[in-house]
Amino acid sequence: MRIGTLKETYLGDAALFDSRTQKGWLIVLAAALVLFPFFAGSYWLYLACLVAINVASASGLNILTGYTGLVSLGQAAFMGLGAYTVAVLEIRLGTPFLLNLLAGGFVAMLGGLVVGIPSLRVKGLYLAIVTIAASFIAHFLFANFDLTGGTAGLTVPPAQIFGLQLDTSFKLYWLIVPITALMLLGSANLFRTRIGRAFIAIRDRDISAEVLGIPLLRTKLLSFGLSSFYAGVAGGLFAYFFRVITPESFPLSMSIFFLAAIIVGGMGTQLGAVLGATFMTLVPEALKLIVDIMPGGASFTVFLSPVRTIVFGLLIIGFLVFEPQGLAEVWRRIRRFFHLWPFRT
């Protein structure tokens, strides 16, 4: 039975992985992720890649909304900026995919910086409306320029490495999942630094943060920039994954999806973004599996499909009512249960 973790130094207190058990489980998780593609079929590989892309984007939004307290409904637009940048570079210049992804991240970051400027003056719902406006502008840009292929969009050639085309979910898995893991590691480390703590200070009380000497505009812009960079890279991965992007690939509902993902997962925690994005992506699929095994099968699909949507909605409402701190808190409670078993908290 583990009853606690002893930390004797400040360094130990700030460590990313603070116990041997945690490190052990992370190694198990890494091994599972490496082995997964060799056992999973194309459907599960597809879902794994989709989850990873959504996790990357949700963790970016979590930096902005969860840790800095700035609400954004523009994440899909920033993903779009990244995706279009990657597509244009891949089609026009044929530059290496890693460079394209970075460029996608930086272009989205620039977009984020522009949209973030009003964040010094407006907060909460007002800021959300600013970011919605940004997504409309982005949609207009995507739909009305020859460079972006107009409403027909662009067809993206597959990413290539040493002449090998990454054109199947199996191959793309090795691109998407490691990049997402790196992004998560980066985001986790961010909150061990001065900048990350400044974000949290702004979230908790921006006036106090300013009194403490944190430059508000610069820090808020940095948060917007970082969040958009994450969205841009996720958008780039999206472009390589789906290979077709149109202005309609990045609707406002997608931004709402990411906001819902971090709320359901648990705002302001790394695990929250991961669990939230995974939940939001996989639960509709899981509900479909349940519908499939119901007696009557396909003939019931017509009746059960709308029910599935309702159940998904009710699940989200249920989580928010009964566990407002999200899935991350549920996970912590499960861990605590096993740590303290047979005693109860």
Binding site: T151, T246, E248, I293, T301
Partner: protein, 397 residues
Amino acid sequence: MTDRNFNPNPYSARRRSLLLAAGASLAAPFAAHAQAGGEDIVIGGSIPMTGVFAFAGIGIDAGMKDYVKMVNDAGGIKGRKIRYVPEDTGYKVDVSVAAFKKITSQNKVNLYYGDSTGFAKTINSELDRNGNILMAGASFATELNDPKKYPHQFLVGPDYTEMFGILLNHIAKEKPGAKVAFVYSDSEFGRDPIDESEALAKKLGLSVPVKIMTPAGSVDVSTEVIKLRRAAPDYTIFHGYILAPIPEFITQGKQQGMKSKWMGTFWTMDSSTVMKMGEAGEGFMGVMPYRYYYDTEKAPMLEKIRALHADYQSTAYIQGFLAAMLFVESAKRTLEAGKPLNGDNLKAALNSIKDFDTGGLIGVPITITGNSIPVGRVYKADMKAQKMVPASDWIKL
């Protein structure tokens, strides 16, 4: 006296049913796999049974199911049964791709029905890589009508530009030199045929005095109506909408004294959609590649459908039904030629279809040389009879 605490069966009924459910869920993929090992010809389907396109998806699904059942009841194709495996997509591309991956990983799919232009474009490279599937779908996008770029896909009717072509040909015949306005939605769907159709209109001696783009499903169109009235078109073609804002345009236009004839394209032209327009719908015209459920002209297949369903079946139903019919015909021709069922052979078989009788679903024999069936007819709303009635003969492009 019995001991109420004594339970002769260690498993309670609830536990047993839970175990059974768990077992069934584990066995389901194996069962599907076992079936896949047989000789069934599989039609997969990304069908939007929820979401904004559900009205069409439910019809498409029913049409596909009915035709598959008809073929199976008649013994299948060369003794092989057809199996239809649909999955709801909510009209979302990512969900649709997931459905495709799921269905193709659990079944040996030969034919597939896709739900949108976005999906058709996204899955195209996978179809080419896979090489075993012929796909059709709910999209009539002009871009898909390119056998080189989309070698394993086809459209179950004319593409949107061809639909405009049918309408413009009709107009040029009815009123040479007429002024035709285009009103379309700001979406890929809406913009699809506009540029090419403007060029065609000029070629046919028609003029396009105004082109108006609005958000899809917009409600307040008063400024656009003023613009339209100023242009005083003889005909106005709406495209890229299902219903809104068409009735608003017509009502306000009529109130402002416009004499235009109002027209639509396939997804607007279902009988139930047009009847929802109320008074505004009187005389509304548009292009329809299929016969309506209630058409009385000779159509044995429509009679079969009417025998199956006493109530009205939508044009989406007919589309799904015809898609299944063309799938089956392609598979039949491929098997009769002794060739394996793969994407190339199925498409070649589809393209060998010449003067094919659809049982009257389309009023003239069809020939599919490329990726579309460029034929249609102009129908007109008769609000008193609550029916769409023919306003032209069948027009082949």
